[in-house]
Amino acid sequence: MAGFILKRLLQAIFVILAVTLIVAFAIRLSGDPAVMLLSGGGNVTEQDLQNIRQALGLERPFYVQYLGFLRGIFVGDFGKSFMGATPVSALIAQALPATLLLAFVSLLISIVLSVPLGIYAAVHRGRWPDQLIRILSLVGLSFPNFWLAIMLVLLFSIVLGILPPSGMEGPESFVMPALTMAIILTATNVRLVRTSMLETLSQQYIMVARSKGLRDRVVLYKHALRNSAIPLVTYIGLQFGSLIGGIVIVERVFNWPGMGSLAFDAISNRDYPVLQGAITVLALFIVLINLLVDIAYGLIDPRIRTE
């Protein structure tokens, strides 16, 4: 197990390196930040642009800039934003908790919904509760997240007027963004739980558990669920990546002050340091979550632990 985790850690380092390199390179293809900064400022001379580039350090060769950025990661210094010179680390420190909170609340809601629903569908395989759950899941899968977000705003904020349409103030502001994410996650997770449970329920040890006289609840939630958990945990780990991707859009719609909004603005402004910093931190989290997933395997299944 220790060797296994060590291997994964080594892999993680390469993943992070690759991500930073791609991000740093790709953003420099998107255009000149100096032009962006001076746009709308009347007459701009080539000399003005040159001065700005000098000030931002954009004159240096790419590898120098990149190595500087890499070194910064290790000391927690991502440089300063091109807009207003705020340290990037301060911006991330502000935005990261909002995003993580939203992500985990969404994930939690989705797990709480999809596990019992998926089990219920599996137990009633082929009968109407199963059909209904599968149809609802397909409907949920068909919603684009931005459309769902806008519809929720329309219903709860404009027609009913019971929830704030945007911002992050108080627990009620969580409801719509978290629900938007959770509905889409649940739609896939419920199917995964169902399939995984069906597979487990056909195993002989489930019949053995029933022959012992255990209650259905114990059979399903003790004996079956833990055996179904490996594919679930794997998928949730992988899902975390697309969850973060989805959050960028949802944060936009709800004006949520998180990493998504930060990254989005940074792209619009060609704010290299902020974007590099934001993406790197998010990539770190995704890698970390997947590392935790690998460790979770061992906790769930003794066959992996004792290998």
Partner: protein, 624 residues
């Protein structure tokens, strides 16, 4: 009337006119039809039948576990009458009443020990669970009781076992844990559904002994579901024979064997291979098989001595064949352990001869077959086919060898491509080896082959799922014959078949041998089939041959302690026979060894012409 009432009153369990159905409407399938029987306290009732007879469904229906498999009990009663209590009809009982009875008054052991324990909980946890649920023990008390139970089923080191997980135990050990779990609450009735079918024969003997001993000690009644008449003869007091969902016969065990009444029972018993049935006869023999034809048993085939072997020049010579696999690697990829699957094995096969390779799991018998078929690379040794060294062969020669050596696998369901017609599957070796290029001629050849294995030419256009297991194995044989091989490796090819089908396939193989002068390497664990089909026998243990000789020498004059143990462990389908006095103990050791620890190679001595036995060290004698 009073007589039946009396008999009913002493029964612990009375199944009355039980019918079980799967599916609904037009597609409904009646798995059990109007079945009735009684189980007396402390006695063993064997329910026997072949696949599709409804015996397993019956066993599940007793505890209403069919509720969870989509089965419906459409009529009948299951009256459970524990001593001094009111009879309960389990068909009508509430869910909570059923849960009270399951695992407490009636417990069950299932067929597959590898999958009947939950892989993510410890052994201790799984046994204690029942005790906490039904006996109201607390965690610590339940653990102590669980330890006692493990000792009762003769598992060593019970204390440490409690904290182990199922995957760390062998199949035999897991089945003992299962028995401990089933007996935890002193049930009045134990239902055992093929509890030893998946186990090696020496392990089976141990498990049967444990069940018998504990039954006597605790006074438990047992319903023993099985297809193995040998096990029936050893275990049962009474027998119920099931066929196509119906009970066709019920009688005390001696009567069933001595004077079977129903034609199906007669057919079944005639098909059962009996160890010792060819004692005193030097050659294997084909004997007629009774098959059911429209409700009556009808004999098929005649008696032929299989005098086909030609001992002038061997077709296959295997000399010091060694096959090892690397397992277990360190972080840096260095090999730490190896499976010593085959170690310096030597034998010859002659034209028209059947050599049986027998042994239990891990003996290396299947690896030898795969090595000969070039599916596995040998680590050392030489294999000569028709005098040519396999290692020195060119690519083209090796291809040609694949044509001359064919393979029949164990599972006829998995070894045919479901998306191709049977005709295509049979024609494939002909196409691959470029034997017949003309389409029409090839078709004729396929039809000829189908005819030879007892199928119809028009079957060529059908798909595998349209055939039964026995028919599929015939198709696999036709495919193996397609390239005109000289040697066929049959790896457990009849083990998964019902005995009546098995007997027919064995006869077919012998008939084809006579007609085509085929040689067979017959790989199996089933000693009774070996006695019937083989000219010579090699007994394998932990990758080495421990005894090699004529069939008669091995069965009538076994010399090696392992051969004797193997023979003693086979259940004999004869209830009159004294039960074997030998107590068989011990697990089969693992062929996995750390790198650098080579196994000792046995030296062989010839005890009589052609009968070779490994020289045993005293330590080995004790262990085997």
């Amino acid at each position: 009337m009073s007589d039946t009432a009396n008999r009913q009153s002493e029964a612990l369990l009375s199944v009355r006119s039980l019918s079980v159905e799967f599916g609904a409407g037009e597609g409904a399938f009646k798995a059990v039809k109007d079945v009735s029987f009684d189980v007396k306290p402390g006695k063993t009732l064997a329910v026997v039948g072949e696949s599709g007879s409804g015996k397993s469904v019956t066993s599940l229906a007793i505890m209403r576990l069919t509720d969870y498999t989509g089965g419906r009990i459409t009529s009948g009663q299951v009256l459970f009458r524990p001593e001094g209590a009111e009879a309960i009809d389990l068909v009508q009982a509430s869910d909570s009443k059923l849960r009270e009875i399951r695992g407490n008054d009636i417990a069950m052991i299932f067929q597959e020990p590898m999958t009947s324990l939950n892989p993510v909980f410890t052994i201790g946890n799984q046994i204690a669970e029942t005790l906490i649920l039904h006996q109201g023990l607390n965690g610590r008390e339940a653990r102590l009781r669980a330890r006692d139970l493990l000792q009762k089923v003769r598992l060593p080191d019970a204390d440490r076992l409690l904290d182990r997980y199922p995957h760390q135990l062998s199949g035999g050990m897991r089945q003992r844990v299962m028995i401990a779990m089933a007996l935890a609450c002193n049930p009045k009735l134990l239902i055992a559904d093929e509890p030893t079918t998946a186990l090696d024969v020496t392990i089976q003997a141990q498990i049967l002994n444990i069940i018998r001993d504990l039954q006597a000690e605790m006074g438990t009644a047992v319903i023993f579901i099985t297809h193995d008449m040998g096990v029936v003869a050893e275990m049962a007091d009474d027998v119920v024979v099931m066929w196509k969902g119906e009970k066709v016969e019920q009688a005390p065990v001696r009567d069933v064997f001595a004077s079977p009444q129903h034609p199906y029972t007669k057919a079944l018993l005639s098909a059962v291979p009996r160890l010792g049935s060819l004692t005193g006869q030097p050659l294997p023999k084909r004997t007629p098989v009774m098959i059911m034809d429209g409700g009556v048993a009808k004999p098929v085939g005649g008696t032929h001595e299989q005098n086909t072997a030609d001992y002038t020049k061997p077709i296959l010579q295997v000399d010091k064949l060694t096959t090892r696999f690397d397992v277990g690697k360190t972080f840096f990829g260095r090999v730490t352990h190896r499976v010593h699957a085959v170690e310096e094995v030597s034998f010859d096969i002659y034209p028209g001869e059947t050599l049986a390779l027998v042994g239990e799991s891990g003996s290396g018998k299947s690896t030898i077959g795969r090595t000969l078929q070039q599916l596995v690379e040998p680590t050392g040794g030489t294999v000569r086919f028709d005098g040519r060294d396999m290692a020195a062969m060119s690519h083209a020669e090796r291809r040609r060898l694949r044509q001359e050596i064919q393979y029949i696998f164990q599972d006829p369901f998995a070894s045919l491509d479901p998306r191709h017609t049977v005709g295509y599957s049979i024609a494939e070796p002909i196409i691959v080896h470029g034997l017949i290029n003309d389409r029409k001629a090839r078709e004729r050849r396929v039809h000829e082959l189908l005819d030879q294995v007892g199928l119809q030419p028009q079957h060529a256009k059908r798909y595998p799922h349209e055939f039964s297991g026995g028919q599929r194995q015939r198709i696999c044989i036709a495919r193996a014959l397609a390239s005109n091989p000289k040697l066929i490796i049959a790896d457990e090819s009849v083990s998964a078949l019902d005995v009546s089908i098995q007997a027919q396939i064995v006869n077919l193989l012998m008939e084809l041998q006579e007609r085509r002068r085929l040689s067979y390497l017959f790989i199996t664990h089933d000693m009774a089939v070996v006695e019937k089909i083989s000219h010579r026998v090699a007994v394998m243990y932990l990758g080495q041959i421990v005894e090699l000789g004529s069939r008669q020498a091995i069965f009538e004059n076994p010399q090696h302690s392992y051969t004797r143990k193997l023979l003693a462990a086979v259940p004999i389908a004869d209830p009159q026979r004294e039960r074997a006095k030998v107590r068989i103990e011990g697990e089969i050791p693992s062929p996995v060894r750390p790198v650098g620890q080579e196994p000792a190679i046995h030296r062989m001595r010839e005890v009589e012409p052609g009968h070779w036995v490994a020289i045993e060290a005293d330590s080995l004698r004790g262990a085997a």
